[in-house]
């Protein structure tokens, strides 16, 4: 297969074959990235699992057989039915029902929506904040950098759970407050990553060239340095998103996270926990599995991205 494209040998014969078919001899970075990534079948599976989870979460109102928070659709008479039972109105609860008669399958879809939204939103905002601060630290240098990095070090010397607990104790409950807490917990990781990379990039010739051309600082920082720091940032973002989802679930499980009106997976698990000792295992287990699959899938994708995007590991 690789005979067609002898020039594209860098990324292995498989990629060369594909690239060869399409263009003859040119291999775009995107194609190399995709073929590098596809080297681990597990990571490919994880990626598609993650895509499916996102799709399911986005389409929850369409896919879910009932709206678990519309009281007109929920009947207490159906409470704590095991998986496969049939409701009063005659449809089957695939994953059983919880203490107030809600269909667990629907509740999980809606919960996934909230968990993912909180995780991704806080991750993106934390990335923006952390990126900006990290870039400023690296580009400004001097005292500004020292102060910023001291704060980062101080924060990172405390475990994320503890910082999150402190913030929740201070800010109180609610979806907005949880997101703020998660941003404060996470920004330092991004800031440290960006600063480390920006320091390396800053000393390279192309930055010097840009500065010699008299480009404004803002342009140098955002158009020249930042794009070259993106690879490690993407890896951190993936892992941190999984972390944020897990952290939010933990806080909600402890009763310090989201209010019961916006039940994330963590809250569903907490609700089921009280019934578990009396044998109604499904109320806790299924949301737990959904959470688990989400987190593991994101982590696997992150692991593979780390290997693929790390220039030192590039073959």
């Amino acid at each position: 297969m690789s005979v067609e494209a002898p020039d594209a040998g860098l990324a292995g014969s498989e990629a060369a074959g594909e690239a060869g078919k399409a263009r003859g001899r040119v291999e775009t970075p995107l194609k190399r990235f995709v073929s590098d990534y596809a080297e681990s079948p597990l990571a490919v599976v994880a990626f598609f699992v993650f895509l499916a989870i996102v799709a399911v979460a986005l389409l929850a109102p369409v896919l879910a057989p009932q709206n678990p928070y519309d009281l007109a659709q929920v009947s207490v008479l159906d409470s704590r039915l095991p998986p496969g039972e049939v409701s009063m109105e005659g449809y089957t609860f695939l994953l059983g029902t919880d203490g107030s008669g809600r269909d667990m399958f629907s509740a999980i879809l809606y919960g996934l929506r909230i968990s993912l939204a909180v995780g991704v939103l806080s991750g993106l905002l934390a990335m923006t904040v952390g990126m900006a601060i990290g870039l400023v630290a690296a580009y400004a240098g001097g005292r500004v950098e020292t102060v910023i990095m001291r704060i980062v070090d101080l924060q990172l010397s405390f475990p994320a759970v503890l910082v999150a607990l402190m913030l929740v104790a201070i800010l109180g409950k609610g979806i907005d407050k949880i997101i703020i807490a998660l941003i404060i917990v996470q920004w330092a990781y991004y800031a440290r990553t960006v600063r480390g990379n920006a320091l390396v990039e800053r000393r390279k010739e192309y930055v010097e060239a840009a500065q010699c051309l008299g480009l404004p600082h803002r342009r140098v920082v955002f158009r020249h340095i930042l794009p070259n720091c993106l690879a490690p940032l993407i890896v951190v973002a993936t892992v941190q998103t999984a972390h944020a989802i897990s952290l939010e679930a933990t806080l909600s499980f402890l009763g310090l996270g989201l209010p019961p009106t916006e039940p994330s997976l963590g809250l569903l698990i907490a609700n089921g926990f009280q019934y578990m000792l009396s044998g109604s295992y499904w109320i806790s287990i299924f949301p737990g599995l959904a959470l688990l699959i989400t987190i593991v899938a994101i982590n696997l994708v992150g692991d593979q991205l780390r290997d693929v995007l790390n220039p030192r590991l590039r073959r």
Partner: protein, 325 residues
């Protein structure tokens, strides 16, 4: 060395002061604790007396200085809920948490090092790959989820182990401990394993990486050439050299364990500091929250200090570098 320690001490003090400011002002800005102590139908004079008694009528910075002054004398104020000194409440629950955390560290060492060394010695065997796969799971599973699973499997389905409380305790020097009675030990097992899981995975990784690195060093080759048994090589030469990162990381992680025990204690109804904190956050019991957070900050700072010093003792290169500087 002493300059190094002094500098560290100064940094630690700054960290504690900053944290105390953040925590105190943060917690004071949240909900008004006054409303927790008075009921609307109290006579006005009584309300004012209560406010005065707790110092809520003074400016917030004055409250802070009063708080610092009292804190330095070991008085963190009385709990609004229990009407007992906050410090006393926290300290009473500390042994339970420390016991749990120590048991978890022990488990991490006893299970993590052999598994990790094995995975390092035979990196391509199926068992090693299983161990490493398991450690990835150990990293990504949320602690509370694992705790629920443990209860589900061992307490509900199999019925082997209890899932709540500390069980029977024995007093050692006036401190109640669980691990000396059989009942207490069975109560300790599940929560300790739950707490340890993350650290077991971590130790496995460290031990494996260390073994892989050490095993190709010249002194191992020399030891083998000298005719030492492979058992002696592994137990003396390899183990000694991988202990440095393991000890450092476990030391640093000890504080992490105490912090994470908040989750484990809540799940297993373990009567420690973490459970107290969650309860206090829910009832807005300000002195206890502030006290817990301050205490744990101090603990973290001390742990970091100890690990730094220990590290320099374990690894002569650190000491030499410092002397040179």
């Amino acid at each position: 060395m002493s300059a190094f320690i002094l500098r560290r001490l100064f940094q630690s003090a700054v960290a504690v002061i900053v944290m105390s400011l953040l925590v105190f002002f943060g917690v004071s800005v949240v909900g008004d604790p006054v409303y927790m102590l008075i009921s609307p139908d109290m006579p006005q004079a009584e309300i004012e007396a209560t406010i005065k008694q707790f110092g809520f009528d003074r400016p917030i910075w004055e409250q802070y200085f009063l708080f610092v002054k009292n804190a330095l004398q070991g008085d963190l104020g009385n709990s609004f809920i229990f009407a007992e000194p906050a410090l006393k409440l926290i300290v009473e629950r500390m042994p339970a948490t420390l016991e749990l955390a120590l048991a978890a560290v022990l488990m991490a060492i006893v299970l993590g090092i052999p598994l990790g060394v094995y995975a390092g010695l035979k990196p391509h065997s199926v068992l090693s790959k299983t161990i490493m796969g398991g450690s990835i799971l150990g990293f990504s599973l949320p602690t509370f989820w694992v705790g629920i699973m443990l209860i589900m499997i061992f307490a509900v389905v199999l019925g082997w182990l209890p899932s709540t409380g500390r069980g029977e305790t024995v007093n050692v020097f006036g401190v109640p401990v669980s691990f000396l009675t059989l009942d207490g030990l069975t109560h300790l097992l599940l929560p300790a394993f739950n707490l340890a899981l993350l650290k077991i995975s971590l130790v496995i990784r460290l031990a494996r990486a260390g073994t892989l690195e050490v095993y190709h060093q010249d002194y191992i080759k020399f030891a083998r050439a000298k005719g030492l048994s492979s058992r002696r090589i592994v137990f003396v030469h390899v183990l000694k050299n991988i202990m440095i990162p393991v000890v450092t990381v476990l030391g640093l992680e000890f504080g992490n364990l105490v912090a994470f025990s908040v989750v484990t204690e809540t799940i297993f109804a373990w009567p420690g500091m973490g459970k107290l904190l969650i309860g206090s956050i829910q009832t807005l019991d300000r002195p206890v929250i502030v006290g817990y957070l301050l205490l744990i900050t101090v603990m973290f700072v001390i742990i970091n200090l100890i690990v730094d010093v220990l590290y320099s003792l374990l690894d002569p290169r650190v000491r030499l570098a410092d002397r040179g500087a």
